[in-house]
């Protein structure tokens, strides 16, 4: 099974200090190393803020490009991991480590189907 571990940030939440940010990055690096060591790592990374997003739409053969983000909500995707493991319980253990590392709630969602390797 593959799972998306999505980190959501809330617009307007105070930014952590540079120092806090550094320790956060360090903690995330540790989790990434653990994921790789366990063979659970597929991909992951942090995203630039939502105001850097661009939305592309193709409708009736016409392509329009607009300033993003797509979802007009305060909660936006801040970063994510894609992991591989046997079941939800294992995914939840990883999600707990990720949430502890980045100090944000982590949403766990299964991928629709195992991509063909």
């Amino acid at each position: 099974m593959q799972y998306l571990l999505a980190v959501h940030t809330v617009e307007g939440d105070p930014m952590p200090s540079t120092e806090d940010m550094q320790t956060q990055f360090a903690r995330v690096d540790v989790v990434n190393a653990e994921l790789q060591f366990a063979g659970a790592w597929v991909f992951g990374g942090g995203l630039r803020p939502p105001d850097s997003a661009t939305v592309v739409r193709v409708e009736g053969g016409r392509t329009t490009v607009t300033d993003g983000p797509f979802a007009e909500t305060k909660e936006q995707l801040g970063g994510f991991w894609v992991i591989r493991c046997d079941d939800l319980d294992q995914a939840l253990v990883w999600a707990e480590k990720c949430a502890e590392a980045c100090l944000q709630p982590v949403e766990v969602r299964p991928f629709d189907d195992e991509p063909q390797a």
Partner: protein, 403 residues
């Protein structure tokens, strides 16, 4: 044994085993239902075979064969997966009965924290208790469509998100066992004081006790599992005396103790003693101990009850526990300190808080305040029998007609 009791005893166990064999809850349910339909023809007809020596094993084997037939006819992805799973199993003896551990696995799957509390309860009653959707909907005052939808959604999530079908290991148990105990406790409670209608729904009480016994048999070394079972048994034992001849509520103090079920009390007391020997107290064990005191001897030893509530409040510092403790405070130290103990409790919408306050105010002779508190309690109570009881108490406070 008739067909209905075979169904009650074997349904959940057979579904649990078929879930392991097929790897899918929906397929397992269908297979077991098919098997029971066949059984109805074979066993029940006047010229039928009669009940086999091991009905559970017969159902499992038949369900397994039915599932294989059904899967051969279908070509969905689930069907292919399930078929593959069946084919990879080593040849099993022709008649395998339900496996006890399967039931335990299924309880933990149904009560997985990734499912909503209502879904956990509905799924447990449906899969392990064999209750039909309308029965569950009636018990929880929720439209049938809602229950059906919750069950469908929960089963889909179990499959899509790969919620595992296994017993959590020792390290995970502290997190995973409490929701299971909560679900069984809630099922019993809903039966003991239904949200509406008649006071007691015996079927839910008995189902909770049955599941509690199964859990205790499967996890005999978990003190809180034994504590929960003891609590259910000691509460269930008093049920016959709790409702009067015209369906009215009879309080503990006024109950005819000769109508209590002595066998259940003996069994409950033995479990409480086992818990005491283990000396790893927890909220369910302490509540069981309190109920053991209530059911010990001709009258309740309130000093002991209060001491146990003090301990319970340390383990579970909730307003409901504080309220129940106040009842014991009133018996030991009188109504005034009890009233002071509940003065600051915050339990919005909970009718037993104003009902307890009304009773304490009555004992203190503060009748006008007691009447107001009864009115508040009556407005909040949803169970008709409890409302009648409160009305009756309230009426007793008003000056009677001149004679």
């Amino acid at each position: 044994m008739d067909m209905a009791s075979v169904y009650q005893a074997e349904y959940g166990r057979c579904v649990a085993t078929l879930v392991r064999l097929l790897g899918d809850i929906g397929l397992a349910e269908e297979a077991v239902q098919d098997a029971f339909a066949v059984a109805l023809e074979k066993w029940a007809l006047p010229n039928g075979d009669g009940l086999p020596p091991n009905p559970g094993a017969w159902i499992v084997t038949t369900a397994r064969n039915r599932a294989i037939d059904r899967l051969r006819r279908e070509s969905t992805r689930e069907a292919r997966q399930a078929q593959a799973l069946l084919l990879h199993q080593p040849d099993e003896p022709t008649e395998v009965g339900p496996v006890r551990d399967d039931q335990l696995r299924l309880i933990f799957t149904c009560c997985h924290p990734a499912l909503s509390p209502l879904a956990q309860t509905a799924l447990t009653l449906r899969l392990l208790g064999g209750l039909e959707v309308p029965e569950i909907a009636r018990a929880y005052l929720v439209p049938e469509a809602t229950i059906a939808q919750r069950i469908v959604r929960a089963k889909k999530k179990i499959r899509d998100a790969a919620i595992p079908y296994r017993v959590p290991d020792a390290a995970e148990l502290p997190d995973r066992l409490p929701p299971v105990l909560t679900v069984l406790y809630l099922i019993f409670n809903e039966g003991y004081t239904s949200t509406s209608g008649t006071l007691v729904r015996t079927d839910l009480c008995l189902e909770a006790v049955r599941l509690g016994r199964a859990l205790a048999a499967l996890m005999p070394d978990e003190p809180e599992v034994l504590g929960l079972l003891a609590l259910l048994l000691l509460t269930e034992a008093r049920r016959p005396a709790r409702v009067g001849p015209s369906g009215e509520l009879v309080t503990l103090a006024e109950q005819d103790r000769s109508r209590w079920d002595r066998d259940l009390i003996r069994e409950g007391h033995e479990l409480v003693r086992r818990c005491l020997r283990r000396d790893r107290p927890g909220p369910y064990q302490l509540q069981a101990a309190i109920n053991a005191v209530h059911t010990d001897g001709p009258a309740t030893d309130w000093d002991q009850v209060l001491a146990l509530y003090d301990q319970l409040l340390l383990h579970a510092p909730t307003p409901v526990v504080a309220l129940n403790r106040a009842v014991a405070v009133a018996e030991v130290h009188g109504p005034a300190p009890a009233l002071a103990a509940i003065a600051d409790l915050d339990l919005p919408g909970y009718h037993l808080l104003p009902a307890t306050r009304a009773d304490l105010l009555t004992r203190l002779g503060r009748i006008a305040e007691a009447l107001a508190a009864y009115d508040e309690a009556i407005a909040l109570a949803t169970n008709q029998t409890e409302r009648t009881f409160l009305h009756h108490r309230r009426a007793g406070l008003e000056p009677g007609p001149a004679t």
